[in-house]
Amino acid sequence: MRETFVDTMTGLLADDPRTALVLADISADAFASAARRHPDRVINVGIREQLMLGVAGGLALTGLRPFVHSYATFVVDRAYEQIKLDLDHQGVGAVLVSVGASYDGAAMGRTHMSPMDVALVDTLGGWTVQVPGHPDEVPPLLAANARRDSSVYLRLSTQRNERAWPGDGRLQVVRRGHAGAPLVVAVGPMLDPALRALAGLDLTIAYTHTPRPFDTAGLRALAGREVILVEPYLAGTSSRVVAEALGDRPYRLLSLGVGRGDLRRYGTPDDHARWHGLDAAGLRESISAFLG
């Protein structure tokens, strides 16, 4: 997904003079040729994340469309107040594009993990959050983001599904159970683990790469009595949205995702998926227990 982002972004910078890219050293080598061609619109501020966001806010105030890129923990966690004030409070928007989702950087340890990024962005109003599950879903999202002014958080990952499920962000039914069957909503790269985990069970499995704004109309149309969220970031991040959407009917909700604790372990993303119960076996165990 990172390579796809670099290629697509390089093309957008060439085609659309309104676009700009702000970096804090991360991926600067990958954008070196774009920086040579567009020295005024590819801006690497060095290892300065507060400035990266402040510059994005300033560029947007002059009418440009800034894309801001770094590791999730550096683009969201580190300079959160700049996102809140230099973008939102100024009434301008930007596209934040992260890599290093959740435990993609497992071997680098906790300092390079941010499972809480989407929850942090979700404390703000009016943001779109995109969590693609396949590299082919990335280019159309980037192109659409270049054409609007509102703020977007695009979360890229090394975890990916076998095939792409492009679309406009509404829930797509991947497997349909009987009417009123429990509904599983898998976000981004959690779709394949969910499909593997739930093979042979009578469930409806729906996919989205755009958890904000959440497709609440689709959720209401598909949901029976049991709803299961499978998210690749902090568990419970979308519980609030489901609660608001289904508040007028009885339902039970299971929210699966990355746990809150610092495991203090390295290893691989697969190891962390297992430790957080997000591999096929872990998902099946949690969901079977929930459904009884």
């Binding site: 507060q50 400035l51 409070h89 100024q90 009434g91």
Partner: protein, 278 residues
């Protein structure tokens, strides 16, 4: 008054023509504070703001969104009474707004909001945000050919001015912006630091001989105060030009502000009396 689609307020009014009379400000400040005792000297930023709006900035209430306007960013959003008084004096906001500071329906609060006040370029209050935004605005103007060597007027037009306080410089975000804009030679950016010696840990150099004292021109001062030199040094080492001025002397302020060159960012340290601690 109408609210535009972007949410900003357009104000069409002319309850009083813009004034060039500095002596009118105490009346406006009294309307904001209801305070008869405070003199203009109580407002550390008042003279600098006046000189900017009266002599330097190319801004006007009838061209708020002109792409070639200068940008003034009040980074130090605390105690904006002087800012509001000057905006009213220059016709950006109706004087009647001054009578309800921070009321439930007031557009003027204890920290300014660009979405509520015509002519205010950024919302501020949390310290250390203005300079980074100013760097982005200067880069954005340059990227669009509105400022820089490619324009007929060179770097002079439009310019981005950011007003900070000496205590605000404690925030590390400022130092990210100071280092970067010096390194990339961001001409077109002017920082103004009001030095009222309010930083908890003084900016005076630990060693009196920084090597920079003689390099900083001063205006309206007999000698360069240690704190002001310490502040200017933080910019100079990153490739900025600098001037230290008497922050109460209008001609000195103007001289310092207009001393920028076309190759580097510029800082003006405006020295005023030490902050009165209650």
């Amino acid at each position: 008054m109408t609210v535009t689609t972007a949410g900003r307020v357009d104000v069409g009014f002319a309850d009083r023509p813009p004034t060039t009379d500095f002596a009118r400000l105490p009346t406006l400040l009294r309307r904001l504070t209801g305070d008869e005792k405070h003199q203009p000297s109580s407002y550390s930023t008042l003279d600098v703001l006046w000189v900017l709006y009266d002599r330097v900035l190319r801004v006007a209430p009838d061209r708020l969104d002109a792409v070639d306007r200068d940008r003034f960013l009040l980074s130090k959003g605390h105690g904006p009474a002087a800012y509001y008084a000057v905006l009213a004096a220059k016709g950006f906001v109706p004087e009647s707004w001054l009578d309800d500071l921070a009321g439930p329906d007031s557009r003027l609060g204890h920290h300014p909001d660009r979405m509520l006040v015509p002519g205010v370029e950024i919302g501020s209050g949390s310290l250390g945000h203005g300079l980074g935004l100013g760097v982005g605005i200067a880069l954005g103007l340059r990227a669009q050919g509105l400022a820089g060597p490619g324009t007929p007027h060179g770097y002079r037009e439009p310019r981005v001015y950011v007003l900070l306080g000496d205590a605000e410089l404690d925030e590390g975000s400022n130092h990210e912006a100071i280092c970067y804009s010096g390194a990339c030679r961001l001409a077109g950016l002017t920082a103004i630091v009001i030095d009222n010696q309010s930083a908890t840990h003084s900016w005076a150099p630990a060693s009196p001989n920084t090597g920079y004292t003689a390099a900083v021109p001063t205006y309206g001062l007999d000698s360069a105060p240690a704190e002001s030199v310490g502040i200017a040094t933080r910019f100079l080492v990153n490739g900025w030009t600098a001037a230290i001025v008497n922050g109460r002397d209008h001609d000195a302020i103007e001289a310092g502000l207009t001393r920028s060159d076309s190759r580097r960012p510029h800082v003006v340290v405006a020295r005023v009396e030490g902050k009165q601690h209650a």
